[in-house]
Symmetry: C2
Subunit: 171 residues, 2 copies
DNA sequence: GAGCCGATCTTGCCATTGACAAGATAGCAC
DNA sequence: GTGCTATCTTGTCAATGGCAAGATCGGCTC
């Protein structure tokens, strides 16, 4: 660990996701991230440009992780919904920035590409567009409400399943 | 408009909601709000304490508005869902802060009371808890996704109705 | 109507932050 | 070894949030 950190970009996105999960996007400080990583206060700017750049990287990673989670869940709509909720709960820092345009560089190439992949994984789940939108809406809404504390319970999946099933009666 | 503004609190919450709608919660500046209202940079602190206090006031107003919109929609679940989505689209600044605990004073008395009222209006719509949660989740999820740009279309209500109907087949 | 008092607003200040510019260092190609 | 480029540092600036202390106003008491 000399003058060059070597893996700053990855280190910082991970630290940023953790910080966002704990204190929200507004509570993120580039200088604090730099301190945690043991680098100077201007090091982040080189890799990410600005604060939005850091969050854009986190969001991009989030969409990639989400796409992977959905793929792994397979074709079953209920399983995909559960995977969506579980992703949000397991990666609250990522989830908190992914859908907040005001925090991101909306025209970032990597971000758009990752969104496309995730979007594709979602669209493939239902035969019709409205069905896909409905499934996405329930899963997204439940995850958001759970993370905000509006819906509580001992176990996320146990609370999510009966809700998701309302939309997926066949599963 | 002498030394005392007279209606600073209302003026500032309104300006704050507009600013949040345009630039997100992170883009809100207390000093800018003060400049817009024509008062000194420390005036907001007296009424709201700190930045979170301003957003808490906005969120409180949001829950009150939401409860009113739901009440007006009546007992019909689909109508309530449409009202929920319409509220979010009509008051994006309020909606953006209402469910983000990291921005608010979570123990604020007025906030908790307004939440209770809105929560009551929601719970009364469905006979069982899971049904209410499911309706809330779809409406909330669709509204969030629409506001983030993830779901697009020429008209919100036209896009929302078929999605909401998946969960409310009887309407 | 004179005096007091609390609410409201102001000025002044400080530490922190995001962003930028210019320079130092290190690894790498040749 | 020499140059090149990515990486990181130091130095700086304006803006911000928050705090403290003081000024002004409106209303209430007597």
């Amino acid at each position: 660990m000399s003058y060059h950190h070597g893996d700053l970009r990855r280190t910082m996105t991970a630290a940023a996701a953790t910080a966002v999960a704990e204190r929200g996007p507004a509570g993120l400080s580039l200088r604090e991230l730099a301190r945690l990583a043991g680098v100077s206060h201007a090091a982040p700017a080189h890799h990410f440009g600005d604060k939005a750049g850091v969050l854009t990287a986190v969001a991009t990673e989030g969409f990639t992780l989400l796409a992977a989670a959905l793929d792994e869940a397979g074709d079953d709509l209920l399983a995909a919904g559960v995977a969506y909720v579980r992703f949000a709960v397991d990666h609250p820092g990522h989830f908190a920035v992914m859908f907040d345009r005001s925090l991101l560089h909306g025209d970032d190439t990597d971000l758009l590409a990752a969104e496309q992949v995730a979007s594709g994984a979602l669209a493939g789940l239902a035969p019709d567009a409205d069905g896909a939108r409905a499934a996405w809406s329930v899963a997204h809404g439940f995850a958001s409400l759970w993370l905000s504390g509006a819906i509580e319970g001992p176990d996320v999946v146990a609370a999510a399943e009966p809700v998701l099933r309302r939309l997926v009666p066949d599963a």
